[in-house]
Amino acid sequence: MPEKTAPDFSSWSCPLPLRDYPTIVMGHGGGGKLGNELVEHLFLPAFRNPALENLGDAAIFELGSGRLAMSTDSFVVQPLFFPGGSIGELAVNGTVNDLAVSGAEPKFLSASFILEEGFPLAQLAAVVNAMAESAEKAGVRIVTGDTKVVERGHGDGCYINTAGVGVMRQGISVGPNRAQPGDVVLVSGTIGDHGMAIMSVREGLEFESQIRSDCAALNGLIADVLDAVGTSVHAMRDPTRGGLASTLNEIATSSNVGIEIDELKLPVRSEVQSACELLGLDPVYVANEGKAVFFVAPEAADRALEVLRAHPLGRDAARIGIVTTQHPRMLVARTAMGSNRVIATQIGEQLPRIC
């Protein structure tokens, strides 16, 4: 696009942010500040409507006599196959989870493929079979789809978009803006597994023990929690891109509360911790694909934890913190040393450091 027809960034709703990067950089897709700014200053003003407004994992709206949830997600992971899963499992589970944490029972999915010329059919078949199996396991049906092919060099083998529709459960009202002071923060298992699994294969890093992605559909686990203590659950989220830190910061901001977590209580596999140490990364910022965070009223927390731990996907569930009226909109961690530190939302992607 020639220079003079470029949009005038200064006229956008907030004059500050987008001008730092006049072109899209990888950080815009990293689940951090830069991505949030695209949503806030470009997409939201352009598309504004009540269902979009709450910026949840899924939009919730009334249709006929029912309340429905709808969500969509695109998958561009490289490599396509990694320890613990593939782009196929991710594409189904990602959308299923976005619906489930919104309080919906996921029902129907669409699947669109953007394939690069030359992509081996055998690999496509493996991806599609993985999707079919995941859908079967999650109890959803893939009911519509589309295929486009781009010229060699214009794609990265296979991109997938899925969208999903679910039916909202009765009597549940969860949302990122509903966390309340006193709520207990629970996480359904170890953090950072997916991001480090991808990084270890993508970058050819060889660790002693293989790190496997945690990719899984969470609708069963979430249904168990909601069946047991549904009315006491105020917020749920699956901490994917940007990790636990981004998710908790988002909830702190949306609910206008402070969140305090105890670093020592965060469940982290030792191989993930080691890999993070080696690369200078912090597991709280590393992506998960099969974990959920719950904000639960204090009197229901023990029961919720019990239910989580009884589910195969929640064995390592832990109580990691509380919601407080102190330091609103901030996530603060108590360190092993007994001091406090702020965990901010990161700007873009985490960068491995020099030494």
Binding site: D20, D282, M330, A336, T345, I347, R353
Partner: protein, 375 residues
């Protein structure tokens, strides 16, 4: 996790802090050289555990921070050239040059890649004979051996398409520069443990003698740092000044001889500009005559770049320990991790980033409006 969790024990840390309070009778100013140590101190709140008179001054040991702006601009110019694969460690990508950063060069089509080892860049060169592969080799003595190995291997394999854009800096000349400054306030140093794992600590006794300062080789975990600080204070209180090794599980007096041999084979001493500090004589390494043809600055004759530091940025004063990050008028205002004016706000080892990210001295509003890089 072995060798890590043992050194993060909160109870032991409390006991060590109590001991430090007991032995301290006067205020002391101690500089930790290395940015990794700065981050560990701030992240773990070590400075808050110390008695009020003990001030930790944050040193210049952040490789990303002291790399001169002119060299970053040069890197951007090389990375933007067609036919170049420009490789770097991750945290150089967001460091602002005069007009841009490597992320933006990548966004505009430059082939910029994050690698985890310069040897990966050598492999890339072997696999892409039609491309020029450049590795951005910055850092202190810690990263130098791997960079030396990369050119050594490239020469051995006869790779004509690999080069190093190199800016190595050294700790001992930095200590000399700090101690020679008339405004110096530093009374003891924590030497950087990982630098000493390569170089040993035989270079330090003459400095301890000349400037009459305690130097304690120190690690990076909370208990390592508390032990280093404790030993420095014991010396200060007794009026002693010698070199001690508080990182014995990693560092020996002689260091890694194989690495030192390789460094001598590949590099020679040279004057270096330190961003924010200025020229320090004999404070860095460049490729020597035998390896000169692997020098990216020779291979890509970049000229006519316009380099301009932000007049607001006080990174130089921060790096010399003259001011704390929050004393810079731009800190948290014009300068944040999302819009850094100087490298100390970008690098995961920079002092300004450490202060910012762990939420020191900021309101929720300021934090909410800015975002942060991770530790």
């Amino acid at each position: 996790m072995k060798y890590l969790n043992e050194f993060r024990d909160g109870q032991v840390a409390k006991r060590m802090a109590a001991e430090i309070r007991q032995i301290t009778t006067r205020p002391w100013k101690i500089m930790e050289i290395c940015g990794g140590q700065t981050h560990s101190i701030i992240r773990n709140g070590i400075d808050q555990m110390l008695p009020p008179g003990i001030e930790m001054i944050h040193g210049p040991g952040c490789p990303v921070c002291v790399t001169p702006l002119a060299l970053i601009d040069k890197a951007l110019a090389i990375a933007a050239q067609p036919g170049v694969i420009f490789c770097s460690f991750g945290d150089m990508l967001r460091v602002p040059g005069t007009d841009s950063d490597l992320f933006q060069v990548k966004g505009r089509g430059g082939d910029v890649r994050i690698v985890y080892s310069p040897l990966d860049a050598v492999e890339l060169a072997a696999r892409n004979p039609d491309k020029q592969v450049v590795f951005f080799g910055v850092g202190f003595e810690t990263t130098a051996p791997a960079n030396a190995m990369s050119v050594h291997l490239a020469r051995q394999r006869g790779l004509k398409n690999f080069s190093l854009l190199v800016s190595h800096v050294l700790v001992p000349p930095a200590i000399e520069a700090i101690m020679s400054s008339p405004e110096n306030k530093v009374q003891a140093f924590l030497a950087a443990g990982h630098v000493c794992s390569v170089m040993g600590f035989w270079e330090y006794p003459p400095l301890a003698d000349k400037y009459e300062i305690p130097i304690v080789v120190t690690g990076f975990e909370p208990l390592d740092l508390l032990d280093g600080i404790r030993r420095a204070i014991i010396q200060l209180e007794k009026g002693e000044h010698h070199v001690e090794n508080a990182y014995e599980r990693i560092v020996t007096y002689a260091g890694n001889l194989g690495a030192q041999q390789l460094l001598a084979e590949v590099f020679e001493l040279s004057d270096r500009s330190w961003r924010g500090i200025g020229l320090i004589p004999n404070s860095g390494w460049r490729l020597n005559d035998n390896y000169r043809n692997f020098d990216a600055e020779e291979r890509f004759q970049i000229s006519g770049i316009h380099t301009e530091e932000s007049p607001l940025c006080k990174a130089g004063d921060v790096l010399r320990g003259a001011i704390k990050p929050e004393s810079c008028p731009a800190f948290g205002k014009e300068c944040t991790p999302r819009h850094p004016l100087g490298a100390t706000m970008v690098s995961s080892e920079g002092a300004c980033a450490a202060y910012f990210n762990y939420g020191r001295f900021l309101s929720a509003e300021e934090l909410a409006n800015s975002g942060a890089v991770h530790a």
